[in-house]
C-alpha cells in the first residue's frame, strides 16, 4: 500500500512541470542559444522561442521547460542571465492556481 502511495506521490510531483518564462531575448538568439545557455541549470525538456512568420523575427519571448522545480529554482537564483551580451529577464511561468486553494496540502492529510 505504501509503495503505491509512494508512486502516487511521485506521479503527482511530475504533473505541473516547471517553466521559465524568458523575456528580452536579443534578436540574434533563437531557441538553440537559449537552450545552450540554460542547459547549465538542468535538463531542458523543451525550449521554444516563437517566431513571427510575418516578420521573420521573434518577439523577444521564450519558454524553457525544465524537468524539476529545483532546476528552475537554480535558474532563478542566478542574478544575471546574459546571451549575446544582452541581459535577459527570467521569471517562473505562473501556473493557473485555483483561487483560495493555497493550503490544500493540509486537507489531504486525512
Amino acid at each position: 500500500m505504501a509503495a503505491s502511495a509512494v508512486r502516487g506521490a511521485m506521479a503527482l510531483r511530475t504533473t505541473g512541470r516547471p517553466v521559465a518564462f524568458v523575456r528580452k531575448i536579443p534578436w540574434t538568439a533563437a531557441a538553440s542559444e537559449l537552450r545552450e545557455h540554460f542547459a547549465q541549470f538542468g535538463h531542458i525538456r523543451k525550449c521554444t522561442v516563437p517566431f513571427d512568420r510575418e516578420t521573420g523575427f521573434h518577439r523577444g519571448m521564450g519558454w524553457v521547460h525544465f524537468s524539476s522545480e529545483e532546476e528552475l529554482h537554480n535558474v532563478l537564483q542566478q542574478e544575471k542571465h546574459v546571451i549575446d551580451g544582452v541581459k535577459l529577464h527570467v521569471q517562473a511561468q505562473r501556473r493557473k492556481v485555483l483561487q483560495g486553494d493555497q493550503t490544500s496540502d493540509e486537507e489531504k492529510d486525512f
Binding site: 533563437a30 521573420g56 523575427f57 525544465f66 524537468s67 496540502d105 492529510d109 486525512f110
Partner: protein
C-alpha cells in the same frame, strides 16, 4: 532700401521691448519645456524672436482654442481625439525634440478616420511637417504637408489665416521654393486676409533666395499698413543680402537695426554667422563669435550646432571640429545633437554626422549602455553604403560607445529589407568572429515570400551558402516552401540554381511538409525507400497533423508499422514501443472529443490493424490513452487500445503492484490455508478487468462466487457491458442485487447496462435499470443525458422501433430527463432513416402535441421537398403556422428550400412581404452550414437575405468569413470585403479582424487598418440593443481591472457605473465579486452582489464564486451565513469546491457544532465524489466536534466501532486520523489525547489495526512531543514496523519547509528507517530545503559508515547544500542535472533487477 528701413523704427510702438533679455531666452530653451529641434536658418525668420518659443506656444494655443470654441456635447469625441493626438505629438517633441514620420502618419490617419478633423487638428498636423521631421528629406516633408492640406480640405476642414501661416512656416523650414505672389493670390482666392506674420514670412521667403527686391516690395506694403518691423525681419534681410552675395550689406543691416532703435540680438548674430558659414569664411565666423562673446549676448550649444550644419551643408566639413571645440555641452545638448546627426544623415552628410556623434559626451565606462543606435538605424534607412556602415560600427565599438553595433545595424537592415546591406553586414560579422545564425536570413525570406518572389528566395539561399550558413528544416518549411506552388517545384528550382543542400535536410523538410499537408502516400513511400537516419520524434508533430488530414487508415497503419519496426527510426534508448505509444497518445490528445467521436470507427480499425502488425505500446502510456478516451466519452475504444499493451514487460516493471498472476497465486494460497479471500479476490477481479480479460474474470467469479464483493461485481458488470456481453452483464447485475439490494452503481455503469441491454433487445430489463436509477436517485449529469441520446439514436439508426419508443417513454416518464428536441429526436430519426416520411411527420407532430417540442422538423421538411410531397408539406406548414406562427413556418420553409438547393423557391419565401430578420434562426442555419461546410448554401443565404428587413448583414458576412477561414479561401473572403463595400455595410471590428486573419494566413496584404482587439464578447454581438459607447467603455474598464486583479480600481469603476445607472451583465459582476472575495474585501463584494441581485433578474453566483464566498464567510467566522451559502449553492445544483466544504466542516468542528456538520453531511450526500470529499473529513471532524463538546467517550467509541465492526465503511489502511490527532494535540485537549492514545493502542494490540496508533505517533513527532512519541513507541512496539506509513510521511513532509526537525526526530526514534531509500532521500531533501548542514552531514556520515550505496540524486543534493554553505564536497559531485538523476533513479526502480 536703407531709407525705407530707417523709417521702420516709427512703426514700433514706443516702449515696446525690441529684444528678449537673456533670462527669457534661457527659459525658452531650458530643460523640461517642449521646444523644437534644431531650426534651419529660415526658421529664424519667425514672428517671435525664437522659432523655439513659437513652437510650444502654438501647441498651447491650439489646445486652448479647442476647449474654448467647441461645444462640449457634440464635439466631445473630436475633442478627445484631439487631446490624444496633441498628447502623442507633444510627448514626442518634449522627449526628443522631433517627431517620427510614422507617428505623424498615424495621427493623420486617425484624424481622417474620425470624419471631419477640426481646425486645430489641421493646424497641429501642418505645423509638424517642418524641422520637427529631421529624418525626412525636405522635399518629402513639404510633400507630406501638401498631402495633409489637400486631404483635410476635402474632408471639409475650414482653413483660416493661421493655417496659411503654418504652411508658410513649413515652406521656410524646408527651404521650399515657391512664388510668394502666387501664395498671396491663393489666399485672396480663398478670401483670407494675410496678416503681419504672413508678410514677415513672405519677406523671409524672398530673402532665402536672395531676392532683396521682392522683400522690399513686401516691406513697403507693410509700411503702408502701419505694421511694425521686428528683429525677425532684419534677420531675414541679413540672410537676403548674404544670399545675394553682398556680405557687406548683410553686415550693415546690424547698423541699420541699431539706428532703427533695435539692438541686434543673438538671432541676428546667428543669422550672420550662418551667412559666413555658408561662404566657408571661418575667419569671419571666428571674429563674429568673439564679438558676441565680448558683448552681453550669449549663444547656446544649439546655435553652434546650427553653425555646424551650415558649414557642412555648404561643403566645408573641415571647419566642423573647430566649432565642436566651442560646445559647452549644456544639459539639453544630447537630444539637440541627435537631431543634428539625423538631419546630417538625411542630407547624406553622414561622415560629419558621425564626427558629431563621436564627440557626444556619453558615459563609456560601464560598457553596457549603447549610444549611436539611432544613427546606425537612420544610416540604413538612408541607404548609406555598407562599407561605411561597417566602418562606423567598428569605430563605435572601439570608442566603447556601443557594445554590438554590427548586430544592431544588421537588425535594422533586415527590418528594412535591405538584402545587400544585410549580406555585407553578415560577412563583416563573420569576419569579426561572431556567429551568423540561420534565423538571420528569415526576415529576408519573409520579404520575398510576401511577393512570392522565387528569384529573391533563391538569391537569399545563395547568399546563405556564400556566408556558409546552412538552411535548416524550419527555414525550408516556414519560409521557402510557401513561396512555391509545391515542394516539388521548390526542389526543381533550387536544384536548377544549385542551392539544394547536399545534406538530407531538404528531404526531411520536404517529408515534414508533405506530412503536414496530409500527403501520407508520399510519407510512406519516402519512409520505405529512405536511406537517411532520423528520429521518429522529429517527425511526430507534422505526422500527427497529417494523420488527421488523411482518412486512409491503411496508410496510418503502414506508416506506424514502418516507424515501429524499422530500426532506422527508433534507435534511441526508449525504443519503438515507447515512441509509438507516445505517438498514439499525442495523436489522440491532439484531436478534439468530437473529432475522436466522429473518427471512432477509423481509430478502431487503426488499432486493430496495429494489433495485426504486432505493434505494442507500454502500459503506462496505455493508461494515459485510456484516460483521454474516457474524457472524450468514447470508452468503447479503450478495449481496442488495450490489445496493444505490451504484457511481458508490464509484469516485470510493476514490482510493487501485484499482477493478476501474483494475485491469483496468493488467492490460491489463501484458499488452501482456508483464510478469507474476499479482498484478494476483489483486487484480482479489478485487475483482470483493467487487463480487459473478461473470460478469466468470469471464470474466477464462477469459481469463488460466495466470496464476491460489491466492488468486484461493479467492475465485472462494466467489463461485460464494454464487451457487448448482455447476457452475463444482466446475470451479474442480478447477483449483485442479491448480494446487496441497496448497493448503488455509478451512473456510467448504469448507462452501460441500459445500452447493452437495449442493444440486445432486453427492453424490459433495460427499463428496469432505468427505474432503478430513478429509485436510487442516481446522479444524472449532462453527459448522462447525452449518453441516453446516443443509446436512443443508435437504436433509431438500426431501425429498432420498439427499443426507441419504449426506452424514450421510460426515460421521459421516469423524469430522468425532461423531454427536449435532442432526447426526442431519435423518434423522428427512426422514420427518416426508413424514408417513411408520413410517419416521421406524424412523430414530430405527436411530440409537439405531447411535449411542445418539434424535433428535426427541418430535416423532415427537406426530405419532403426533395421527394416533392406537396400534400405533406402543406400539412406540415399548416401545422407549424397554426402552432408556432406564420413567420416560423416561413423560415422553416426557407431553410428547407435553401438546404435542398431550391434557391428560386427560397427567394420567393424570403421576399414575402412583412417577413423580418430573426437573428437567432439565421444564426442557427449559419452554424449548421459552417459545421457541415456547406459553402454554397451559406453564400446563398447571405445573398438572398440582402434585402431582408432588419437583417444584420455584418453578422451574416462574419459567418461566411468564418467558413472561408476554415477552408482557407482567401479569394472569396476578399470578395466579401468588396461586397460589403458595395452594400455600404460598416463592418464590426471582429469582422475586420477575421478578414485580416484570413488574408494574413494566406500571405495576402491586408488593405485596411485592423482594429485593436478588445474584450469583446462575441455572444453579445447578436443582442439587438447596442450599448452606448460610454457603457461599453466603462464595461471594458471593469473587465480590464478584473483581469489585472486590480480590485480597488474595479470596485471604483463599479461605483462609477452605479452612479451613471450603467448595469453590466451577470458574468462581469461575478468576476468582480470573485476578485473582491479573493482580496478579502467582503463588504464590497456583498455590496456588488446586492446591486446585481436587485438589477438583474434571477442573478445568482456561479459555483466558483459561491465557493469563494463560503471560504470568506468561514474566515470571518460567519458560519451561519456560510451554511446558507452552501445550501443555496446546492439548491442551484452547483458543485461547491472541496476546499470550501472542508473549511466549513472544520470550522464547525472547532466550534463543537456537531449538528451542522451532520446537516452538511446530509446536504452533500451523493455528491461526495463530484466534490471530491472523502468520508474521512466527516469522521475526523465529527469526532473533533464531539471531543470539543466533552463527549470524548462517544467519539472514541464511534471510531472504534467503525474500525472493528464487520461492515467497514473504509478500509483500515485508509482510515487516516492525522487531522483529528493534530488538532487535539494543537488545542492541548489533554484528556482527549490520553483517551485517544489508549484507543489507538487498544486497536493495535487487540485488533491488529496499526494505522491509528502510527498516525498518532507521527503527529506527536510532528508537533515536537518526542518524549511522548518515544513512550508510545515503547508501549506499542509494532509502530516501528509500519514502514509504509512512515515513508509516506517522509515523502510528504520533505515537500514542505520547516519539517526537518520532525524528520530528524523520526529517524532517531526509528533508526531502521534510515536504511530505507525513500526515507533517507526524503530526509536529505528536507535538510537541503531547510538548509540544515550539520544534520545533513550527520546523515551522510551515518549512511557512509554503513556502506550504503547512495544514489546520485542524493549526492547531488548534498553536494549543492555543502557548496551553498561554502563547504568543500568530500566526493566528486555528480556532474549531471537533478532531473537527469531523478529520471535515472526512476528508471532503475522500474526496470527489473
Amino acid at each position: 532700401m536703407a531709407a525705407l528701413l530707417r523709417s521702420a523704427r516709427w512703426f514700433l510702438r514706443p516702449g515696446a521691448a525690441p529684444r528678449f533679455p537673456i533670462s527669457l531666452r534661457l527659459l525658452a530653451g531650458g530643460p523640461g519645456r517642449p521646444h523644437a529641434a534644431l531650426c534651419r536658418p529660415a526658421a529664424r525668420a519667425g514672428p517671435v524672436a525664437r522659432g523655439l518659443l513659437s513652437q510650444d506656444r502654438l501647441y498651447a494655443i491650439a489646445a486652448e482654442k479647442n476647449y474654448r470654441q467647441e461645444e462640449p456635447t457634440s464635439q466631445r469625441r473630436n475633442a478627445s481625439q484631439f487631446d490624444w493626438a496633441l498628447m502623442r505629438l507633444d510627448n514626442s517633441v518634449r522627449r526628443t525634440g522631433r517627431i517620427t514620420k510614422t507617428l505623424l502618419q498615424k495621427v493623420f490617419d486617425n484624424a481622417c478616420v474620425s470624419g471631419c478633423p477640426g481646425g486645430n487638428q489641421a493646424l497641429l498636423l501642418l505645423r509638424s511637417c517642418g524641422s520637427l521631421l529631421p529624418e525626412l528629406k525636405s522635399s518629402e516633408r513639404t510633400e507630406l504637408a501638401h498631402r495633409i492640406w489637400d486631404k483635410l480640405q476635402k474632408l471639409g476642414t475650414v482653413y483660416d489665416v493661421s493655417h496659411y501661416n503654418a504652411l508658410l512656416k513649413v515652406y521656410l523650414q524646408n527651404e521650399y521654393k515657391f512664388s510668394p505672389t502666387d501664395f498671396l493670390a491663393k489666399m485672396e482666392e480663398a478670401n483670407i486676409q494675410p496678416n503681419r506674420v504672413t508678410y514677415q514670412r513672405l519677406i523671409a521667403a524672398y530673402c532665402n533666395v536672395g531676392d532683396i527686391e521682392g522683400a522690399s516690395k513686401i516691406l513697403g506694403f507693410m509700411k503702408t499698413k502701419d505694421l511694425p518691423v521686428t528683429e525677425a525681419v532684419f534677420s531675414a534681410l541679413v540672410t537676403g543680402h548674404a544670399r545675394a552675395g553682398d556680405m557687406e550689406n548683410a553686415e550693415n543691416i546690424l547698423t541699420v537695426m541699431r539706428e532703427a532703435g533695435i539692438e541686434p540680438g543673438p538671432d541676428t548674430y546667428l543669422t550672420l554667422l550662418n551667412a559666413y558659414a555658408e561662404k566657408g569664411d571661418i575667419d569671419h565666423v571666428k571674429q563674429t563669435l568673439e564679438k558676441v562673446e565680448k558683448s552681453d549676448l550669449y549663444l547656446m550649444d544649439r546655435d553652434l550646432l546650427q553653425l555646424i550644419f551650415s558649414f557642412s551643408k555648404a561643403g566645408y566639413p573641415q571647419y566642423v571640429s573647430e566649432i565642436l571645440e566651442k560646445i559647452t555641452y549644456e544639459r539639453r545638448y544630447i537630444p539637440d545633437a541627435m537631431n543634428l546627426i539625423l538631419l546630417l544623415v538625411t542630407e547624406k552628410l553622414e561622415d560629419t554626422a558621425f564626427q558629431v556623434l563621436l564627440a557626444c559626451p556619453v558615459s563609456r565606462e560601464d560598457g553596457q549602455s549603447d549610444f549611436g543606435s539611432f544613427f546606425l538605424r537612420h544610416c540604413v534607412t538612408m541607404n548609406t553604403p555598407a562599407e561605411k556602415l561597417i566602418d562606423y560600427c567598428k569605430k563605435l565599438k572601439e570608442a566603447q560607445m556601443h557594445t554590438s553595433p554590427l548586430q544592431f545595424t544588421l537588425q535594422c537592415a533586415l527590418l528594412a529589407n535591405k538584402t545587400d546591406s544585410a549580406k555585407a553586414l553578415m560577412k563583416a560579422l563573420k569576419e569579426e568572429g561572431f556567429p551568423v545564425r540561420t534565423h538571420y536570413f528569415w526576415p529576408l525570406l519573409v520579404g520575398h515570400q510576401k511577393e512570392k518572389n522565387v528569384q529573391g528566395i533563391v538569391e537569399v539561399l545563395k547568399g546563405m551558402h556564400e556566408i556558409g550558413v546552412n538552411p535548416d528544416q524550419e527555414t525550408f518549411i516556414n519560409y521557402v516552401f510557401p513561396s512555391f506552388d509545391s515542394v516539388k517545384s521548390a526542389r526543381a528550382v533550387l536544384q536548377e540554381n544549385g542551392c539544394l543542400p547536399e545534406s538530407n535536410i531538404f528531404s526531411l523538410a520536404e517529408l515534414r511538409c508533405e506530412a503536414l499537408n496530409g500527403n501520407l502516400d508520399y510519407v510512406l513511400s519516402f519512409l520505405e525507400s529512405n536511406t537517411l537516419s532520423f528520429s521518429f520524434g522529429s517527425l511526430r508533430g507534422s505526422l500527427i497533423l497529417g494523420f488527421r488530414r488523411c482518412v486512409d487508415i491503411n496508410l496510418w497503419s503502414k506508416i506506424t508499422e514502418l516507424l515501429y519496426k524499422d530500426g532506422r527510426y527508433c534507435q534511441e534508448p526508449p525504443g519503438p514501443t515507447e515512441a509509438v505509444g507516445y505517438f498514439l497518445y499525442n495523436l489522440i490528445d491532439s484531436m478534439s472529443d468530437s473529432e475522436v467521436q466522429a473518427k471512432e470507427e477509423h481509430l478502431r480499425q487503426y488499432f486493430h490493424q496495429l494489433k495485426e502488425m504486432n505493434v505494442k505500446i507500454p502500459e503506462n502510456i496505455y493508461r494515459g490513452i485510456r484516460n483521454l478516451l474516457d474524457s472524450y466519452h468514447v470508452p468503447e475504444l479503450i478495449k481496442d487500445v488495450n490489445m496493444l499493451v505490451e504484457r511481458e514487460k508490464t509484469d516485470s516493471r510493476k514490482i510493487m503492484q501485484l499482477t493478476s498472476s501474483d494475485l491469483e497465486s496468493t488467492l490460491e494460497k489463501l484458499k488452501a490455508e482456508n483464510q478469507p479471500i474476499r479482498d484478494v479476490l476483489k483486487q484480482l477481479i479489478v485487475t483482470l478487468c483493467s487487463e480487459e480479460n473478461m473470460q478469466k474474470a468470469l471464470e474466477l467469479k464462477a469459481k469463488y462466487e460466495s466470496d464476491m464483493a460489491v466492488g468486484g461485481y461493479a467492475a465485472l458488470i462494466n467489463l461485460c457491458c464494454r464487451h457487448d456481453n448482455a447476457e452475463d452483464a444482466l446475470n451479474l447485475k442480478q447477483e449483485f442485487d442479491r448480494l446487496d439490494s441497496s448497493a448503488v452503481l455509478d451512473t456510467n455503469k448504469y448507462v452501460g447496462l441500459v445500452k447493452v441491454l437495449g442493444k440486445h433487445g432486453k427492453l424490459q430489463d433495460a427499463i428496469n435499470i432505468l427505474k432503478e436509477m430513478k429509485e436510487k436517485d442516481v446522479l444524472i449529469k449532462d453527459t448522462t443525458v447525452l449518453s441516453f441520446f446516443h443509446i436512443l439514436n443508435g437504436a433509431a439508426l438500426r431501425g429498432e422501433t420498439e427499443t426507441v419508443k419504449q426506452l424514450h417513454e421510460a426515460i421521459v416518464t421516469l423524469g430522468l430527463t425532461k423531454p427536449s428536441t435532442t432526447i426526442s429526436s431519435p423518434l423522428v430519426t427512426l422514420y427518416l432513416e426508413k424514408d417513411d416520411l408520413p410517419a416521421a411527420l406524424k412523430a414530430a407532430i405527436d411530440l409537439y402535441e405531447k411535449y411542445k417540442i418539434l424535433p428535426r422538423i427541418h430535416d423532415v421538411l427537406c426530405k419532403l421537398v426533395e421527394k416533392g410531397e406537396t400534400d405533406l408539406i402543406q400539412k406540415a406548414m399548416d401545422f407549424v403556422s397554426q402552432e408556432q406562427g406564420e413567420m416560423t413556418m416561413l423560415y422553416d420553409l426557407f431553410f428547407a428550400f435553401l438546404q435542398t438547393g431550391n434557391y428560386k423557391e427560397a427567394k420567393k419565401i424570403i421576399e414575402t412581404p412583412g417577413i423580418r430578420a430573426r437573428p437567432a434562426r439565421l444564426q442557427w442555419f449559419c452554424d449548421r452550414c459552417i459545421s457541415s461546410n456547406q459553402v454554397e448554401t451559406l453564400e446563398k443565404l447571405v445573398e438572398l437575405t440582402q434585402k431582408l428587413f432588419e437583417c444584420d448583414r455584418d453578422q451574416l458576412y462574419y459567418n461566411l468569413l468564418k467558413l472561408y477561414k476554415i477552408n482557407g479561401d482567401w479569394q472569396r473572403a476578399d470578395a466579401v470585403w468588396n461586397k460589403m463595400q458595395e452594400e455600404n455595410i460598416i463592418p464590426r471590428g471582429k469582422t475586420l479582424r477575421l478578414l485580416a486573419e484570413i488574408l494574413r494566413n494566406n500571405n495576402q496584404e491586408v488593405p485596411f487598418d485592423v482594429p485593436e482587439l478588445w474584450y469583446e464578447d462575441e455572444k453579445h454581438s447578436l443582442n439587438s440593443s447596442a450599448p452606448s459607447p460610454v457603457e461599453t467603455n466603462i464595461h471594458k474598464e471593469l473587465l480590464n481591472a478584473c483581469q489585472w486583479k486590480k480590485s480597488k480600481d474595479a470596485y471604483n469603476i463599479f461605483l462609477k457605473a452605479q452612479k451613471q445607472n450603467v448595469v453590466f451583465n451577470s458574468e462581469s459582476y461575478i468576476s468582480l465579486i470573485k476578485l473582491l472575495l479573493v482580496k478579502d474585501s467582503f463588504i464590497q463584494a456583498m455590496q456588488v452582489k446586492d446591486f446585481a441581485e436587485t438589477h438583474i433578474k434571477g442573478f445568482t453566483l456561479n459555483d466558483a464564486a459561491n465557493s469563494l464566498l463560503i471560504i470568506t464567510q468561514v474566515r470571518r467566522d460567519y458560519l451561519k451565513e456560510a451554511l446558507k451559502t452552501l445550501k443555496t449553492t446546492l439548491d442551484l445544483k452547483q458543485t461547491p469546491s472541496r476546499i470550501a466544504v472542508t473549511r466549513l466542516i472544520q470550522a464547525c468542528a472547532l466550534k463543537g457544532d456537531l449538528e451542522n456538520i451532520q446537516a452538511i453531511q446530509k446536504m452533500v450526500n451523493g455528491l461526495e465524489d463530484s466534490i471530491g470529499l472523502s468520508n474521512m473529513v466527516f469522521i475526523n471532524n465529527i469526532a473533533l466536534a464531539q471531543i470539543k463538546n466533552n463527549n470524548i467517550d462517544v467519539a472514541i467509541e464511534n471510531i472504534e466501532n467503525m474500525l472493528t465492526s464487520g461492515n467497514q465503511t473504509m478500509e483500515p489502511q485508509y482510515f487516516g486520523l492525522a487531522y483529528l490527532f493534530r488538532k487535539v494535540i494543537e488545542e492541548q485537549l489533554e484528556p482527549a489525547v490520553e483517551k485517544i492514545s489508549i484507543m489507538a493502542e487498544r486497536l493495535a494490540n487487540q485488533f491488529a489495526v496499526y494505522k491509528p496508533v502510527t498516525d498518532l505517533f507521527l503527529q506527536l513527532v510532528d508537533s515536537g512531543k518526542v518524549d511522548d512519541a518515544r513512550a508510545l513507541l515503547q508501549r506499542c512496539g509494532a509502530i516501528a514496523e509500519q514502514t509504509p506509513i512512515f515513508l509516506v510521511f517522509c515523502i510528504r513532509s520533505s515537500r514542505r519547509p520547516g519539517k526537518s526537525p520532525a524528520l530528524k526526530s523520526l529517524l532517531e526514534l526509528i533508526p531502521e528507517l534510515t536504511e530505507k531509500e525513500e526515507a533517507y532521500s526524503s530526509v536529505m531533501k528536507s535538510y537541503v530545503l531547510d538548509n540544515d548542514v550539520s544534520s545533513a552531514k550527520a546523515l551522510y556520515e551515518n549512511l557512509s559508515a554503513k556502506n550504503m550505496k547512495l544514489d546520485d540524486l542524493f549526492l547531488k543534493r548534498y553536494a549543492v547544500l555543502l557548496k551553498n554553505a561554502g563547504e568543500s564536497v568530500p566526493f566528486v559531485e555528480p556532474p549531471e542535472s537533478f532531473e537527469f538523476y531523478a529520471k535515472q533513479l526512476k528508471e532503475l526502480r522500474e526496470s527489473p533487477l
